[in-house]
């Protein structure tokens, strides 16, 4: 099945798991991820840091066992999330983020090897957004919220095209894949790239990604109808995170 | 090698010549290891196990997982109000024919550890020893069916030897049914105490009861069987447990009598009620 939700707007729910401090479920571009956040809790001796909290990120693939790729994604997430969480507030503590992948878009043209799960950059935005939402839901103090997006440079008919939220097919033929995250203040938080690209291309990617993550003016002017589904689907990721939180708070306080 | 069950109906004798309600020979000894707090050696047919009990003692440093422990609520070693029963089972490589290598993380062994620990904890008065640990270590020397039952019996004997207060013996044995689940044979006879060959071919279960009551401490069935046969198997199993209890009791009394004879213990020191003749 071609993932039917590839072009749909992102969807998110907060507080989906009753027994963890905070949790969120997020689905976009065929990826569905559930996250739980527990913390601040007591850290293990080996993880204990006397000055700041330890942020532990665990990425669990839907099928098969995780490998080095998952560890790689975990380390990227860990370092970027450590920058937005106020870790200095909780010395000797642990903030544990478990990201459970539930669904990934399938490539109908390939039979995948499943026992060794292999994730790639395309899932990063989903993981990142879910983690941020779950952290918000757990009430972990943060300096700013952040949103991530994946951009691929795909050669098509001799022309290089920038694709936001690339499909598995796009990733396969892409020249380079990039993950960028921006805080709500518009600062670049994370930039990871794979493949070869020029500095000029990267500038273009940076602009596209920034527009997707934190487009400062509401996307009403219609002039930037770039080939990205996000802009056409409505507000950018920052607004999406905000409106998700707002609706959750409104729902929780309906009795007031 | 499929078991030839066809002859059973002719002579009503099983492959090893027993009748349906006969136990194999049970040979048991207690106080086999002088250095241990409690020890036992038990043979059920060709299944041979050895057990050593240490404790109740101060809990040592905790290693790895806590699989195979019972008692102490929450399992936080040394912080509980009940003693923790920690069971460790070692299956010797030479114990069975196929010499299968089982690692420390073998889930079947871990499950047996947990079962033995929880079964013992039901009988031992663990509430008398807060913040402490009872270590039971079991060694399987030879396997010929009814392994779990033999382990439970050996552990019970060793706990008696260690002098840990307990409600009653936890006695265990297995019961089976004469035809496989596929044959919808309602007239199938129940069988008592299965050997390895029977265990491979026929449905069966392991029952452990508290003393000579009808109360079941552990019930483990790992094969497919019609629900209608459960009752028959359970009745025979519980009855077998009572026989096993008698045998275990005889072993303990015999040892006690010998110890008095040898002068190891004086008659009347804690053995008042014991009927020594």
């Amino acid at each position: 099945m071609a993932s039917p939700c590839a072009t749909s707007a992102p969807e998110a729910a907060l507080g989906v798991l009753p027994r963890s401090d905070g949790s969120a479920k997020y689905s976009h571009a065929g990826y569905t991820v559930t996250a739980s956040v527990n913390g601040p809790i007591e850290a293990q001796r080996k993880d204990e840091n006397p000055y700041e909290a330890f942020v532990d990120v665990i990425v669990r693939p839907a099928a098969g066992v995780g490998g080095t790729r998952e560890r790689h994604l975990e380390s990227i997430l860990q370092s970027s999330l450590s920058h937005i969480i106020l870790i200095k507030n909780f010395p000797r503590c642990l903030i544990q983020i478990v990201l459970q992948i539930e669904d990934t878009p399938e490539n109908d043209y390939v039979n995948t090897k499943l026992v060794q799960a292999s994730l790639n950059f395309a899932i990063m935005p989903a993981l990142f957004q879910t983690a941020v939402l779950a952290l918000l839901s757990a009430g972990v103090p943060m300096r700013a919220t952040a949103a991530a997006t994946a951009v691929a440079v795909v050669p098509q008919d001799g022309v290089k095209k920038t694709v936001v939220d690339p499909s598995p097919r796009d990733i396969e033929i892409a020249q380079s894949v990039h993950v960028l995250a921006f805080t709500s203040h518009g600062e670049l938080l994370l930039a990871e790239s794979e493949g070869d690209f020029t500095v000029k291309e990267w500038d273009g990617i940076y602009e596209t990604a920034k527009k997707t993550c934190c487009h400062s003016t509401p996307a009403k002017d219609g002039m930037e109808m770039v080939l990205d589904e996000e802009a056409s689907a409505g507000p950018d990721m920052r607004h999406f995170l905000r409106s998700t939180m707002e609706s959750k708070v409104a729902a929780d306080l309906y009795w007031k | 090698m499929p078991l030839d069950t066809s002859t059973y109906n002719l002579a009503l004798l099983r492959v090893d010549g027993r009748r349906w309600n006969e136990l194999r020979r049970i040979n048991a000894q207690i106080r086999t290891q002088a250095a241990a707090d409690g020890s036992s050696y038990l043979e059920m047919g060709h299944t041979k196990v050895m057990c050593v009990v240490t404790g109740p003692s101060e809990p040592g440093p905790r290693r790895g997982g806590v699989v195979g422990s019972a008692g102490g609520a929450g399992g936080g070693g040394g912080q509980s109000k009940d003693a923790e029963v920690v069971v460790n089972i070692v299956i010797a490589g030479f114990s069975s024919v196929d010499r299968k290598r089982r690692g420390r993380g073998d889930k079947r062994t871990l499950e047996m550890q947990s079962t033995v620990a929880n079964a013992l904890a039901a009988s031992l008065h663990i509430h008398l020893f807060p913040h402490s640990q009872i270590n039971v270590s079991l060694h399987v020397l030879s396997q010929d069916g009814s392994l779990l039952a033999a382990l439970i019996n050996a552990a019970t004997l060793a706990c008696v030897d260690a002098g840990i207060p307990m409600t009653d013996y936890v006695a265990a044995c297995t019961a089976g049914s004469t035809s496989t689940y596929a044959a919808n044979d309602e007239s199938a006879d129940p069988l008592l105490d299965m050997n390895h060959q029977e265990e491979q071919e026929l449905p069966g279960l392991t029952v452990a009861t508290m003393g000579d009551s009808d109360r079941v401490v552990a019930l483990v069935c790992e094969s497919r069987v019609q629900i209608s046969r459960l009752e028959g198997m359970l009745v025979v199993g519980v009855d077998g447990c009572k026989q096993v209890r008698e045998i275990l009791d005889r072993v303990v009394r015999e040892k006690g009598r010998r110890m008095i004879d040898e002068g190891t213990v004086e008659k009347g020191t804690g053995l008042n009620d014991m009927d020594v003749d």
């Binding site: 798991l17 027994r19 007591e42 099928a63 669904d103 026992v115 | 452990a208 109360r215 079941v216 359970l234």
Partner: protein
């Protein structure tokens, strides 16, 4: 790692006294399950089971691999149950706790050893190629009775799962991608379900089904019975704990059978509903052969 919060003495006594008066905190009957909900994913072989606040996600997957040398005619079938800290921070990765070992053994005995999945049908070329079917059980939230929920999820995921179609022509094995040929269901023989009884009281005289997390922490013994709707027991596990009268256990197994039949009917209904939803063109004939047994 942080330990689980234990119920306080007051809480324990409150629950116990209520149980002695035949009352449960959530107002259920003693033999009543919490509302069971099953949803299938967009992909084949994804089952999301909610039992009250307990939530388990099972995902089945398959790949072609080399069979074990000692079983050249059988495919490979594994059930992976790793409890992540998502379930509770008390669980650590790569360090199996007792709960995890017992859960994985129970699922193994219930589904694998009872031959629910015909592993011989997974063989493609004897000794060289076979299917390796794997079910990953993800426990998203644990509010008691993990075993029953997980078992139901595994069975549902496997029955919903379709593996890629294959063909053998002149000794050449072709595995078709989903775009080329519609995937085919597994050869499924029977559907076992776990039913767990929890016992309370000094003599284990109070028995109830589908214990919540609080009840599970207070119970003195538990007994899991796995059976299918034909009344075949696949596994019984009362692994120690306070002794329970043998007659009571027999009665429990009787009730368990009616529950297993209910589960079976519910699952059949859900599968039929899903098939109807997915049915495009002439696929129905192929898919409906699945529920014969």
């Amino acid at each position: 790692m942080p330990r689980e919060v234990e119920p306080s003495l007051n809480e324990k006594q409150f629950v116990l006294q209520a149980l002695q008066e035949n009352l449960r905190l959530d107002g259920r009957e003693i033999d009543q399950y919490r509302p069971l909900e099953l949803t299938f994913g967009d992909q084949y072989g994804v089952a999301d089971v909610t039992l009250g606040k307990t939530r388990v996600l099972a995902k089945a997957s398959a790949e072609v691999t080399v069979p074990y040398t000692d079983r050249p005619l059988d495919g490979i079938f594994t059930i992976a149950t790793e409890l992540s800290p998502m379930t509770s921070p008390a669980f650590e990765l790569n360090r199996p706790t007792e709960t995890e070992v017992l859960l994985s053994r129970l699922l193994e005995k219930t589904v694998r050893r009872s031959n629910a999945l015909d592993t011989e049908s997974l063989c493609l070329i004897a000794g060289q190629k076979c299917w390796s079917v794997r079910v990953d059980v993800h426990v998203l939230s644990h509010d008691g009775n993990l075993i029953d929920a997980a078992c139901f999820a595994v069975v549902a995921a496997l029955r919903h799962f379709r593996k890629p179609d294959t063909s053998m022509e002149g000794g050449v094995l072709t595995v078709y991608t989903p775009a080329e040929r519609e995937p085919v269901p597994l050869s499924w023989l029977h559907s076992p379900f776990c039913i767990t009884w929890s016992f309370f009281g000094d003599q284990g005289e109070i028995a109830l089904l589908d214990a919540t997390w609080v009840e599970e922490q207070i119970r003195v013994a538990s007994c899991t019975i796995s059976l299918n709707r034909h009344g075949e027991i696949c596994q019984i596990a009362k692994l120690g704990g306070t002794p329970v009268d043998a007659v009571a256990l027999l009665q429990c197994s009787g009730v368990a059978l009616t529950k297993a039949k209910e589960f079976s009917t519910y699952l059949d209904g859900k599968l039929a509903e899903d098939t109807k939803k997915r049915n495009k063109g002439g696929l129905l004939a192929e898919l409906s052969a699945e529920n014969d047994r």
